[in-house]
Structure formats: structure tokens, C-alpha cells
Subunit: 343 residues, 4 copies
């Protein structure tokens, strides 16, 4: 049997969440979110974020991102984001679709992070006039697609620039749990306290079956989100089963335990790989410069993972999931040490 | 505790399906449908329909309908459908959204069914020219939104008219199981053998957690469906959990057992209600002309159901679900007999 | 040479307007509306309508209608309108396109006019909920597509109903001049004084080359119209040539003289046709029940006009343009009198 | 009176074209392109391009570009283009709008030209999968937005790369006349013979009132262009007046005479400016590195032109139009020589 490091979304559902689904499966419940589980969500997220929030469950991270952005940005608007962002590379144009054709304006930046000076330059290079699309939002990912993490002050600096120009801040938190676990901060510290207006709060990659939540930190930003969600066919009739997942995910800090474990295991791999890591390992992803021969050798040992970068770049991505076995990690570390002549 | 007859989507998940979810929750599985459960779907649906089909799981019926129609119809196209159709009344414009702005052209028809002569007239009234939207598809619902059922020859007559003009046939099968169970026919008899090109195969209302499938009966009609599904954020990363539901739904004819039970219970309610039924009860929905006083009396007895028609119409809709208790049915029948002075 | 009664848009450009184009063709002028001709428009229309207005030139009536509606209605919105409306039958779905997929909800009504009770019923039949599209505007045509005219109090009654439910009022004024000339009223009387929020002010059918104007009666309704116009490629770089047409159109009441002449000639045809008119002739269009033989006879006499209604309905539409010759009218009247045995 | 070098679209209409409009203004003509002027277009463009073509007049360059691209690219598609392209910077997202949300993927390149190796790298960096937008077209501008010109072999090299991957080639020819006049080539040499599939053939910037044409070099690429044009409100009812402009534009090589004159005058300015030109002057645009003081000095002398680049870049753009006076050119040359200490 192979050892999977392809993605955290190949992992199964955490037992606590599966148990919650079973527990929710009793009797009737009104549809479309008018049920007791969904009713608890707002209170639970309000407590989690230490602020009144509006929460809307959806079933995919792409839905969360694209619907959130469509709510922030008009069809003739634009979203500034990093060229490595999931919304750019992995959503088949969902943000453009949901928004009615808004544009993604791309920036560079080390570790898939946008630096404040880069954002400032991008804003300067895109002045508004009736002849152009209108920048209206910035979207950042936490943890990023390259496994790095924004510090609270880094987010605050971006938000300050964005808000000063009338843009709103969106965070793609598909791996939000990994970021919070790694930083040891309050969820508020990297969201609204740092100027984030809307968060795509992910759970699917970290132990849920299929559950994400769009969290608005200011009620006025919700606008017509509910119509957009319904119209995009993301208002689930049997909503209780998504809400129950989210509640179980938060219960007893399960989300942080699962993410914390994945992060810690990833650190062990990073230590084994040493300088082969071409990005800092700050969450649960490891990016390695291995060369094609070592990549082939690892595959021969039954490790599954993705190639990275251009063809023949010799780069590979490993993602550690919440349920990765000790044995998998041990095996990967040993193989890397041997292949890299590290001991 | 109240007695629920609001909708079949307020019911819980059938134990067999919940067990299948639990069983699927072992180890890793590749994402986005490249898993063993999804791999079985095509073969299972091909056997079910006695023909090679293409099957695509999604999580809501609205997604199934709107994505299927968007694949059949260009932005400047039109879909002919009944004015009571779910795609018209209950999807917040999802077909328009997914298709890039195609139009729904509405017809009347008893029992929410389109009669062939009505379709012919609608086609005549919408000739094509560069100045108008182009009719490209017909969408019918089986069982209909008023609980009636198309006979195979009725569907075939519509398909013949539609195909002769170059239109394709879509069936909204949110309650497809109820129709097949009631007709006692082969699934093929009311789909491709009767000219249906694409089916939204529903399971959520009949015991699944959240699982629907778009079934194409000709591979060429699939076109760019997969891009549209992804772009609309309906390609689930943990697809195995939707596919596992669908497999369990078909195993041992579970789908027909559940739907057959609901249909049979609905017949008992229809018998109790007698001539108060203003639509024939052919599946699991009962539409009653009760008057406001009897409606209030039923609510006082803790029955939950929807008002129907215009305000003060005195009409009500009752939906019987797969898990409706004998006790609920008995109580409703008794209450109706008493209120309607029938014995 | 044939005698044209097909449409008023087959007529040439009025000499006064052609002269204005020539006069505007001197030297440089800043692009995109920042020119002296466009600068005069707002003042001229403000005077015309006895109220501060915002005016935006575009080059087609379909652009005026669809962009105006897209500004009033969100993608999940709906426009209530008559089933004979140009936006329904002759714009290939432009309103749906420009709005991002909003729906047209259709009503009936004699003479292509919506009666207040019909509008009230349509509003009642389309209550708002997250499951449905949201009615946000009513669109009426003045003069209508059947050559009839709304009286000021009829418009006011519709506006009162619409505004009470939060809907806005749009008027398609492709033949606005014919209506004002026929009613002998102030332009304000059938627009803002009667509750109209936005007007598509047509000139192309009544002597312009290609010139229409979107007139907003309240600045806040303009919203993002300018971005939508640009994005739809309807912001002309050499705007002066459209604005110059509109100015000449209003100069010395040219617009009313041209429309008044067409109306008067249409009356002569109506008199000749007598009871063959199946719609009242109130503007410059005549709808006749002739039978197929008489239709053929007229065509044999070199009259050009459109069939109307279903095939073999025996109905025909004649449109009288601003420049219709006396000779054409005389000939048509004589032919009709003879064919209809009227003398 | 100021001396205008802001844009070629601030110039008036060439007398020959105005005369053609006057000549077309006789009697009735069927609407929507079914007129004698439009009927001649296909033959005239077929002769011009030495190949059977399909031609569709529209009134703006943005409409031509966005409708052409929407015909080539599905909503989930992408267009590779230069970051300086008009479709990127000056159309408020019209390509995204018309296509239903397709993406523009941007490249760099000197002189606003895409180099073959840059295109190859961009294609490699955007492999297709269901998770991403699908590159389907390349759009280049001739002459470019920086006043440079692609040689025929440069276009052919790009087309070869694009076609090999299944992408189609679009050319934004807003200044096509300037390119052909400068190259002294056949129009075919830089279009279909070099692999271009669709051309936006511009006339407005070079003497027309408002007239552009979309030229398809293969009938199968036309696809549903006509529905898209109508739906976007760009099918003019009085089409004869646009077609008449295009015919007059081609008569007696007027288009090449006007463009050739502008190009020649621009060369004189380039000579006067010498090394201050930071882009080669190959058509009718001159880009100068002047410094803020000289820019202010020129403005004080009543020259009108646009700043270029970032604020305080000290760069300016001058566009020479077909009707630029000798006096304007002499004055600009003299001022530049003096300011730049050149003599």
C-alpha cells in the first residue's frame, strides 16, 4: 500500500466528525439552514473570533472563496492576489464566474506571500478610471500555497494599504487551522484584528467530510451573499450535516489538535530534508528540491506526492495530513536522509 | 414533537447510506473523483440504465439541473419548461446563472406537466432569428412538482417534438425514484428510451445525505460539463463520500424500496383526504384544498406542512418522506377524515 | 421601387441631423464624452424634462434598455414586463446578458400595455425569498410595441404599485417622441411625474443616424452605469457625433415635428383601414387583420411590411416613418380601401 | 487653440467618409445589415485580403475585440496577451464580460510585443487540467500600444506556437492601417498568411466616424458571433451608415493614404526628438522620455498629450492623427529640438 503525501484532501474524515454526522442523523430538521445545528454556528464562531460574525456554510473551498469575492467585488472589479494563489491556479476561473467577470490582478512575492511594497506598487499601477477594471479587494492565503505563514503584523500592513484605497481584504483559509496552530495566536489576531473583512474558513483539508464556512466580520459586507450562494447551488437543503461537521471540528479544539499534529510531523520531515527545502516549512507542506533521480527513487519506494514547478525542475511537494501515520513519516524521513546523504 | 410533512429533504439519512459513509472512511483516496467509489459509478449507472452513460456526482439538485442545462444551452439560448418547475420557482435563477444568461420560456399545463400540444405551440411561438433567444432544450420534472407522473409515452411525445426542432431533453429527477417506483417501469423507459438526453438523478430527497448525479445518455452531450462543474465549485475534493452514497442508494434497490414506501404512505393519505386532493396523488406529495380553518386545525395538532398557492387559497402541500412513521401517517389520516367529515 | 412600411428604422437620417453631423466635424475634440457637444446634453435634457437629469448617449436602443435595466436589477433580480416587449422579443437576451442573468417575468395585457391589476397580481405571484429571483424593476414601453400609448395616469398607477414594493420603473422610449406628440403632454408628464425612474430615450427610429440616450431622473439610480456602458463596449470614443445628433434632434422641436408627422399619416391609414385595425392606432404603427389574400395583394403592389402573429394569422404590421411620402400613404390608403371594400 | 496629440480618436471624420455618409442617406434601406452597402462589404474585404472572409461591422474597437475573443474562447478559457494590450488596460474588462468570464493571461515583452519564446514559456506555465482555465487564444495588437510593429515572420512564429497547442490567433487592428502603411505589405501578409484567425479591423482612429469590422479568415470560426453581437447590443439597425464608412475607407486606398500621412509626420517628430524616444517610432505614436520640466514646458506651449508610465516618470505619449496639421508638427518638432538642445 502506498504512502500518501499528495494532498490533505485525500485523507479520511476524523472520527469525531464522523460521530457528529451520525449523531445529527436523528429525526426531521428543517431544510436550508433553519435547523438547530446551523443555529449554533453563529454563536460558536462569534465566540471563536471574539466578535459578532456572520457565518455561512458551504461544501467546497472554491465555493467559499469565489462567493466571498463575488460579494466584495462588482463584475467590473478586480481582486489583487498572488500568482500562486489557489483562486488563480486551481479553481478553473470560479472567482471570475461567480463575480460576473471580475479580474484577478497578479503579484509575485517570496513564499507565495504578498509584501506590502508589492501591494502598494500594484495599486499604483492600477489607477481607477472608467476605462479600466476597478481594484476592490485583496485576497491572501493563510497558510499559503507554499506552506508559509503570514505574521499578524504582515497582514495588518496589507490591510492598511488596501483599506486606505477602499479595497476589502479576503483571506483564503483553506489551511487556516494550520496557520493558527503554528502561530499559537488567537484566530482574531490574523483576521479582523489584522484587518481581514471576510474569511474562507476551511475544514475539509483538516478532517471534515466536506465543510467550509464563509465568515464575515462586518455584517454590512454580507450584502447579497445569501442570494449568490443559493443561485450558485451552494445552499444545501440538508444543511444540518455540514453545520454538524463544523461544530464537531471546533469542539474541544479538535481543529487545532489535528492541524497541530500535521504541522509537527511536517517539521520532522523538514529536519530530515534539511537544505533541500526550498521554502520554509511553517505549516503542513514541504517543498523539496530533490532532482529527478531522487524523485524517481521515492516513487519506487511507494511514496505518492506531486511534482512541482516546471517539468524537470526536480522539485516535489509533500503534504502531511492530520492522520498521517508515524510509520509514513518515519519512512519518508529515513528515505530523505539516505537519498540526501544526511545522517 | 411535531409531525413533519414539509419536505422530503427534512428527513434524515437512511441507515444503509450512513453505513456506507462510515465504510468509505478508511485510509487515503485520491481527490476529485479519482477514487475507487467514483470509479464504480459509471458501471453501476450503465447497468441501471441498460446503456452506456456518463455520470457526474454533485451535491445539490439545483447544481445538477443548472449545470446540465448550461451544458445543453448557450448563453443566448432558451429552455422551455413548465411554470411550476423547480428550475423556475426554487433555484434563484441558477439556470440563468450557470448558462451565462439563457432564458426560461414558460408553459402551463395540468398537474405541472407539459402537454405535447402545449410544447408544439410554444415552439411555434418562438421561432428562431438573430433577434431572439434560441430555444435549445426542454426541461421536464419526473415526478413533477405537483406530485404527478409522466407516462413513458407522454415523455416520448415531447422528446419527438423537441428533437425534431433540434432541442435536447432534460429531466429534473429530484424525485426520479418515486416515479420509477410508482410506474414499476425500467429507469430506461422514462429516460433515454423516451428520448431524454440528460437526467438530474436525485438521491438527497430520498435518503441520501447530499448526493445527486448528472447522467448523460450520449457521450457527445457531455461537452464541457466537467469544466462547468469545477468552475461552479461543484467538483468535490473528497468525492468518495458522495459516490459512496450513490452506490449504497442503488445497492439492493434501496432507492426503490425507500421511494416505494413513501408513495404507498402517500396513497393512504390520499384515500383519507378523498376529493380534497386537487391534484392526483401519483408519487409522495399530496395537494389538498382544505380551507383556512382546517389548515389552522391541522397546525394546532402539530402537523408541519407548507401553504400552497396564493395567500388565503386554503391549499396545502404535504410531502411524505422515506422514513415517515406509521404513526404520523395514521395521525394525519385520522385528522383529515375528521376534519373533512369522512368516515 | 417598393413602398416601405417595414420599420421606422429603415428610414434615412433627417437632413437637420445630417447637417449637425457635418457641423460637428471640425477640428479635434476630446474623446469618450469629454467634448462640447456632450457637455451640452445634460443641460438640454434637464430643460426638456424640467428636472435635473443624468444623460448617457449610446448607439442602440437595445444597449439603452439592457444597460438601464442592468443598473436597476442585480443578477438574481427580475424585471416585470409585457410579453410583447422589445426587451423580451427582439433583443436576443440582451437584458439577461447585461444584468448577469436577471430574469424577465412576463405579463399579458391588451395593446401590449400592462394593467395595474395585472402588475399587482404578478407581484403577488412572485413573493421574495432566498429561493427565488427578486423582482426589482418594471419595464414598460411608450409608445408600445402594438402602437398604443399609456396615459399619464396609467403610468402613475403602475409606478405607485412598483415603488410600494421597492421596484423601480423603466420606460423603453424607442418611440417616446411618437407618444409625446400624440399625447401633446410635457415629457415630464409621462416620465418622472408619473414615477418613471429611468428612460431609454430613442432617436434612431425617428430621424437620427444612430443615437439613443439613457436618462436617469434621480442621480442615485445612475450607480455604476458608466462602468457597465464602457464594459459593454458602448462608450464611444468619438462621442461628439452621437451627442450632436441628439442636440439637433431636440433643436426647434424637430423630434416632435417628425414624430407628429408620422403619427398623423398613420391616422390616415387607420381611417382607410377602418375596422381592419385590430389595435387602436395611437402612434405610428398600424396592425391590420387582412387575411392572407389581401396581404398577398398588397405585396404584389410593392408594399413592404411585416407579417404579424402566428403563421397564417392573416395579420400585418405597417410602420409609418418620419419621412414617409404622401404618395406612399395615398397609395396604401387607396389599396386598403379597395381591398377592404370601403369607400 | 491647443495642439492635440492626445489620441487619434480625437480627430474629425475624413471628408471622403463624411461624403459617403451623405450619399448613403437616400431613401429606405432594410435594417440590421440587409442593405446594399453591407452587402458589398464581404466582397470588398475578400478582395482586400485575397481570400474569402466573413465581415461584421460594429461601432467600437472594444466591441470588435471583445466579441471576437468571446467567439474564440469559452467562459472557462483564457487569452494570452501582452500586459500593455488595449484589451487589458483600456476596456474595463469587456473581454471578460463578453466571454462570460474568461481570463487574460499576461506576458511582458519589449515594445508591447510578445516574443515567441515568451509565448512558449507562458503556454508551458499554463498546462491544461480541469482545475484551471484553458488557454484558447492569443491576442496581439498591430500596430502595438507602444507604436511598434510586428514583422510578418514574427506573427507567423507566434501563430505556429499557438496553433500547435490548439489556440487561435486574434489581432487587435485598431491601428491596422498604420501597420500596413508602414510595412508596405499586403494586408494578407500580416493576417491569415501569418496565421491570424480573426482581425479587429479598425477605422475609427484613422478617419471614420465610428466604424470597425470583425474579419474572420475561416468561416468555421464565426460560430455564434452573430448572436453574440446582437445580444451585446452591437447589431445596428441602421447598419448602412457603418458599412458606408467602411466602403469609403477602402475606396482609392483612402485608409492607407491617411495612415501613411500620420506615420510620416510621426517620423518627423521622432527625428526631432532623437534619443528621447524610448520606444522605436514605427507607426503614428511617439513615446518620449522628457522629464517633468520639459513636459510642463510643452503644456505651457499649448500642446495636449498624455503622461505615460508611473507618476513622475517624466514620460509622455504623442499620437499623430490622419489630419494633423503641418503647423502642429512643425511647432512640436521645434519645441522638442529646443527643449532637448538638439539642432
Amino acid at each position: 500500500m502506498s504512502r500518501y503525501f499528495k494532498s490533505d484532501n485525500t485523507a479520511p474524515v476524523a472520527p469525531e466528525i464522523m460521530a457528529a454526522l451520525q449523531a445529527a442523523n436523528e429525526g426531521y430538521a428543517r431544510g436550508y439552514g433553519d435547523d438547530p445545528w446551523t443555529a449554533q454556528l453563529e454563536q460558536r464562531f462569534t465566540k471563536l473570533f471574539e466578535r459578532d460574525v456572520k457565518v455561512f456554510p458551504v461544501s467546497t473551498g472554491t465555493a467559499a472563496n469565489a462567493l466571498a469575492l463575488a460579494t466584495l467585488v462588482p463584475p467590473y472589479g478586480a481582486v489583487l492576489t498572488h500568482e500562486e494563489a489557489h483562486i488563480v491556479r486551481d479553481e478553473c476561473g470560479a472567482p471570475e464566474f461567480m463575480s460576473g467577470g471580475a479580474r484577478l490582478i497578479l503579484t509575485g512575492g517570496r513564499g507565495a506571500k504578498i509584501a506590502p511594497e508589492t501591494l502598494a506598487a500594484a495599486l499604483d499601477a492600477n489607477p481607477t478610471s472608467v476605462h479600466t477594471v476597478q481594484p476592490r479587494a485583496v485576497s491572501i492565503t493563510q497558510a499559503t500555497e507554499l506552506g508559509t505563514i503570514y505574521q499578524p503584523h504582515e497582514i495588518a500592513a496589507l490591510s492598511k494599504l488596501a483599506h486606505a484605497r477602499g479595497l476589502r481584504m479576503h483571506m483564503d483559509g483553506a489551511r487556516f487551522a494550520n496557520a493558527v496552530a503554528a502561530l499559537g495566536c488567537a484566530p482574531a489576531d490574523i483576521t479582523w484584528r489584522a484587518g481581514i473583512d471576510v474569511l474562507s474558513f476551511g475544514a475539509t483539508k483538516n478532517g471534515a467530510l466536506t465543510a467550509e464556512a464563509v465568515v464575515f466580520f462586518s455584517p454590512e459586507h454580507v450584502a447579497d451573499f445569501e442570494f449568490r450562494r443559493k443561485r450558485a447551488a451552494h445552499l444545501l437543503s440538508k444543511m444540518r450535516y455540514v453545520s454538524a461537521q463544523l461544530l464537531a471540528y471546533l469542539d474541544n479544539d479538535l481543529w487545532l489538535k489535528l492541524a497541530g499534529r500535521a504541522n509537527a510531523l511536517a517539521q520532522r520531515v523538514a529536519t530530515a530534508a534539511g537544505s533541500a527545502c526550498f521554502e520554509p516549512v511553517e505549516a503542513n507542506e514541504i517543498f523539496l528540491q530533490l532532482g529527478d533521480a531522487r524523485i524517481a527513487a521515492l516513487r519506487a519506494l511507494d511514496f505518492e506526492f506531486y511534482d512541482w514547478g516546471a517539468s524537470n525542475s526536480g522539485q516535489a511537494r509533500f503534504v502531511v495530513s492530520w492522520c498521517q501515520s508515524e510509520d509514513d513519516i518515519e519512512a519518508l524521513c529515513a528515505a530523505l536522509r539516505e537519498l540526501l546523504d544526511r545522517d
